[in-house]
Symmetry: C2
Subunit: 309 residues, 2 copies
């Protein structure tokens, strides 16, 4: 199958209790494409960077099977830049700098060769751009997933509701699910949010794993218990990329296969947080990933045979 | 096998956002014994009540296979009473009243017929009493589990460390694990705590499930996602009781069987929170429990077959 990812390709500067970085490669679409590449070898990307973005990373994406016709490179302009500092608990962070740069006037042009893409992952961007991408695809993808964030709920809720009405799966965290639904019970929130459009909902709970809701079915996946989370940046995008890469590569939209896709995404996310930025994702092998998935099997699976005296 | 539970048998008065109760039956040993009775039919109890405690509940415990020779009934005295009010998020609560009454001078007398009990569950009590019970058992039980709380860490840490050095399994919540270990990472905490004595550690995470640690193995069990938690009182004791009842009835201390026991405990705890106090536990059937366990199988299990194009 084929997977199209739309989102930021950018620079980050990150500070955590364990250290800080200069400008390093970041961006939702970067993490998503890298993670998805462990499963799906036929990927496309619609994004924009300035001419400050390193050719080396573009080459890396190409090597991993990402078609880059949809990556716009704006001469004389700068790539999107975000800088943030995590608090000691690693669950909250302060944004220090946001420079939109090329993202300010991003027009998501879909190359003709991308028409007919079967799976679409909309990384966190303005809901207007997300909707524009869906509308520009002449044939609706078989499955559309999206990420968003509380910022858009605050300033563009009407636009966000339009996007939500057009997608199949929303992937957000617990705090965002509570804000979007207005209720604190995640089970109740999942019903309210799915009435807005998406038939599937994944609620990410960080160190507590993730929940998948569809109809009356729920799947609860754990996160891998780690001694330290070194840098959480990109973990959510890596999870989404692993999930969608798995779904696209298998072409199987059953609930059982979505469970597997969540484990695949969780395994990749557990690597992502071990080093700064994309560093770890770029240096693990297919075997590393497969053995991490087996750790999840041991961590979460049980064989319920019980006998009462 | 046989299971001995030591802990409070008491009255509670509870207020939650959904309503409030008068004095109702509570106490750690009550919840533990009721939950364990779904699996283990050969139970014993060491506890103390006043003569205000209803004979009806004593009869109910007896019907469920709990030998009551070790239940002391103090004429002219009153049973332990706790009253608390849960905050809107149900994760925190204020204690309104604590009347120790008969617990103030509780001497945990072990009936001769209880010697040789194979499994011991020490409900939350002063560490001194917990240690006394272990010391009074002439033959060490095959497996000793205990609960405790932050209160004893605050005022009786030295005594607590003595008890910890004598047990096999500690069952506490995440906040207690962080306080006991002095670190915030639960993986690190699990190592520090297990160096204090118990080879097994269960960390309860409320709506996020529970983690079991042993050697290098970890099992992550989810909690059942619920629309509402009506009353969390006793959920932790119910979990422990279900766990130990399962372990005692199967007599199997393998890690795989402990996974099953955690699911059994989680299933019973998910019922417990649906109504005030012990009400729900008293009205579910063996079939209700078994079907709830099957919900956990669907919720948590996955079959990892993946194929990369």
């Amino acid at each position: 199958m084929s997977l199209l990812t739309v989102g930021s390709v950018a620079f980050d500067a990150i500070e955590t209790p364990f250290g800080k970085t200069d400008k390093i490669i970041g961006g939702a679409a970067t993490y998503i494409s890298l993670a998805a590449s462990f499963f799906e070898k036929n990927q496309r990307i619609v994004a924009v960077v300035g001419d400050d973005f390193p050719q080396e990373m573009i080459d890396t994406l190409a090597e991993k099977g990402v078609d880059l016709e949809g990556l716009q490179i704006k001469a004389g302009e700068k790539s999107f830049f975000w800088s943030g500092k995590y608090h000691n608990d690693m669950n909250t962070r302060d944004t220090l700098i946001t420079e939109l740069n090329v993202l300010e006037n991003f027009d998501p042009i879909i190359p003709a060769s991308y028409q007919g893409t079967e799976y679409l992952m909309l990384g966190n961007l303005t809901p207007q751009i997300q909707t524009l991408v869906i509308d520009r695809l002449e044939q609706r993808p078989q499955f559309i997933a999206m990420d968003t964030m509380n910022f858009w709920m605050d300033i563009a809720m009407d636009d966000l509701k339009v996007t939500l009405s057009k997608i199949d799966l929303l992937i957000i965290n617990d705090e965002e699910a509570r804000q979007l639904s207005g209720v604190s019970s995640l089970v109740k929130a999942s019903k309210i949010i799915r009435e807005m459009g998406p038939k599937y909902l994944i609620i990410k709970k960080g160190e507590h794993g993730a929940l998948l809701f569809h109809g009356d079915q729920i799947f609860a996946a754990p996160a891998l218990p780690l001694e330290e989370v070194f840098d959480p940046t990109g973990a959510g995008d890596t999870f989404a990329g692993g999930f969608m890469g798995y779904i696209a590569s298998t072409g199987d939209l059953s609930f059982d296969n979505m469970k597997r896709a969540i484990i695949a995404g969780s395994a990749l996310a557990s690597f992502c947080v071990e080093k700064f930025g994309t560093e770890k994702l770029l240096h693990i092998s297919q075997e590393d990933m497969e053995s991490r998935i087996q750790e999840f099997v041991k961590l979460a699976n049980f064989d319920m045979v019980y006998h009462v005296k």
